[in-house]
Symmetry: C2
Subunit: 240 residues, 2 copies
Amino acid sequence: MAPSACPVPTFRLKRSQLKVRFCTNDSQNSRGDLVGLLRRHGFDISEGEVTAPAPAASLILKERGLRPHLLIQDGVRSEFDQIDTSNPNCVVIADAGESFSYQNMNKAFRVLMELESPVLISLGKGRYYKETSGLMLDVGAYVKALEYACGIEAEVVGKPSPEYFQSALKEMGVEAHEAIMIGDDIVGDVGGAQRCGMRALQVRTGKFRPSDERHPDVKADGYVDNLAEAVDLLLQHADK
Amino acid sequence: MAPSACPVPTFRLKRSQLKVRFCTNDSQNSRGDLVGLLRRHGFDISEGEVTAPAPAASLILKERGLRPHLLIQDGVRSEFDQIDTSNPNCVVIADAGESFSYQNMNKAFRVLMELESPVLISLGKGRYYKETSGLMLDVGAYVKALEYACGIEAEVVGKPSPEYFQSALKEMGVEAHEAIMIGDDIVGDVGGAQRCGMRALQVRTGKFRPSDERHPDVKADGYVDNLAEAVDLLLQHADK
């Protein structure tokens, strides 16, 4: 598992006997688009090595026979191509960006209110993220709006949900105590993985803030300046 | 204080020696527009008899020297005409309807995130309401979104906030134990008024649901089929 910075070191990981998996909370893009993007940034990665909320949710929908009303961006819609969306009996909400209009929020709300036991599945619960144009509200904020209006609690598919980490471990065929999470988010990456029984390193890049090292609830097993340093550490230990 | 159904009985109240005040959570319209609407429905009412969230918030802003970024509908903007909105140091959010766009929500969010101690003032905290086109998300849902994203708690101006009921009592010049709230909302009207030391009747019209009479937390001091019955009750007791 690895964050989204400094591509080259992951080649060294993949040349080793260590198994590598990319575990993301991106719910705007299909795995195909994500992999294309990462490849253009120099990552050696295939769709099968990615754990992402949309395909994970798609699997859950199939298993439980749920027919979603989708409040998502077009970029990720292909992940739900095989899913029956007629006569919806749940709502799936992702980072919908511009599609978080009052009309679309009301539509999702009405679907939930018409259900006897409303089911709301949220791809992640991020509070916000940064784009070049400024801070943007993330899916978690809009989930809170629907939760409050309907008096329900959403099921979260994505970090830091333990089920999500477990699905990634299962796909890798390793136990939690054998795995190390590397991430830039102290709560979503580090805290979530630790609650699952994994160890976790925080990289001091991306979302990292110096105050993370004094976080009241979460203490990483180690802090590294960047992904290269994390890979060095892993390879040193793997050699022993 | 009275709900929005069956106008004629309020004439009888106003002919008595009882003081009457209309206490609303409407944050879409100015008091002028509200009074116009109620008058067209047969209510004998003037602006000075209305307690509404927007003018109440306007007063708070003045008292505390706050300069709001306004996420509101144009219909209520005139209530903030006297307020300096340059270089905002707080956000005021009302039932903004169509104006709850992703762009406008991000704008309000960014204002809050740029403040050292973000102040979010919410005109009510309604979950939803019904229009002819269907259920609509109310301001409370969007407040939850901003609260979650910013990690803050909003100050609510409106029912069921005790300060709001107290401001209405103060304007009437009566004590809580001398006043009776009549409303259709078991939590917002009845529960809120009772927490303030008032007695409260629920009318079985409007928002009323039969399950309200078995509400786990709130028990009205009485239930009446409509406003006329409430007025009968009040006048009977006033005569004694």
